[in-house]
């Protein structure tokens, strides 16, 4: 059984300007856990898409909310929990980003969450009281 390494936790305010902080926290995790560069890029993408969704749709412009992120590292994977008290949003519900449609029918809807699913090995969601709790696992090569 893999031993649990130390955990990284941080909080983001509900503002897209916090993406910079997200990048910095991930860079710190990358150094601490010696994560491959490509994995860090992909984790960054996954968290950015989830966070952007939460900020854009979750809070009705109320500036007081926060998103908390917890990261754990085992030998071959990173597990991340992202939690907020915004509107209910379940990223595991499939959306169709219309991959095969012609150009005129394409827009950006559904693409962010679609990308999330391409880059995680497991994604679960639950609603606890007034909180969205998203948990994901990414295997590190």
């Amino acid at each position: 059984m893999a031993e649990k390494r130390s955990q990284i936790r941080f909080i983001l305010r509900n503002s897209l300007s916090e993406l910079e902080k997200l990048g910095k926290e991930l860079a710190g995790a990358a150094v601490k856990w010696q994560l491959p560069r490509r994995a860090v890029i992909e984790i960054n993408l996954v968290l950015e898409e989830l966070f952007t969704n939460t900020v854009s749709y979750g809070f009705d412009d109320d500036p007081k909310h926060k998103v908390s992120i917890t990261m754990d590292h085992d030998i071959d994977s990173v597990r991340i929990t992202m939690s907020d008290d915004g509107n209910q949003f379940d990223p595991t519900v499939p959306e169709d980003p219309a991959l095969d449609r012609p150009l005129e029918e394409r827009d950006i809807g559904g693409l962010g969450i679609f990308l999330v699913r391409q880059y995680v090995d497991d994604l679960t969601y639950k609603r606890e009281g007034d909180r969205n709790i998203v948990m994901l696992t990414k295997k590190i090569a």
Binding site: L16, E48, T52, P97, L99, L103, R106, G112, F114, Q118
Partner: protein, 112 residues
């Protein structure tokens, strides 16, 4: 993200340096819009040589540029995609709509 703009043989080249994400994509959009696509305008090439990260916000700006120039006199293309960025374009199916060149030199040769 920095955007370096220059003109080469009638092609406006926007060379990006940095991340193309939800924060920086709004910097690129007006730069693209400012390049006239009409008969007296310019072909447009966005170069990704120094971009190692793109999110759906970046894809959105590129998609908008492709759609905007579909019926115009001047073309739109991108170049120099790095591994991860190329993969995101392919996974999302955008590589079917967008002309992608391996580098600026070959892009200019083909466009002009």
């Amino acid at each position: 993200m920095n955007i370096d703009k220059r003109i080469e043989r009638g092609v406006v080249i926007l060379a990006l340096d940095g991340r193309l994400d939800s924060n920086t994509a709004p910097l690129l959009e007006p730069e693209i819009d400012s390049v006239d696509a009409g008969d007296d305008g310019h072909h447009l090439l966005v170069d990704f040589n120094n971009v190692e990260y793109i999110s759906s916000a970046g894809l959105r700006v590129v998609l908008k540029a492709v759609k905007g120039r579909q019926a115009s006199a001047k073309s739109f293309a991108i170049s120099s995609l790095q591994d991860h960025v190329r993969e995101v374009f392919e996974i999302s199916g955008f590589d079917a709509y967008i002309t992608i060149y391996p580098d600026i030199a070959r892009a200019i040769e083909s466009i002009v």
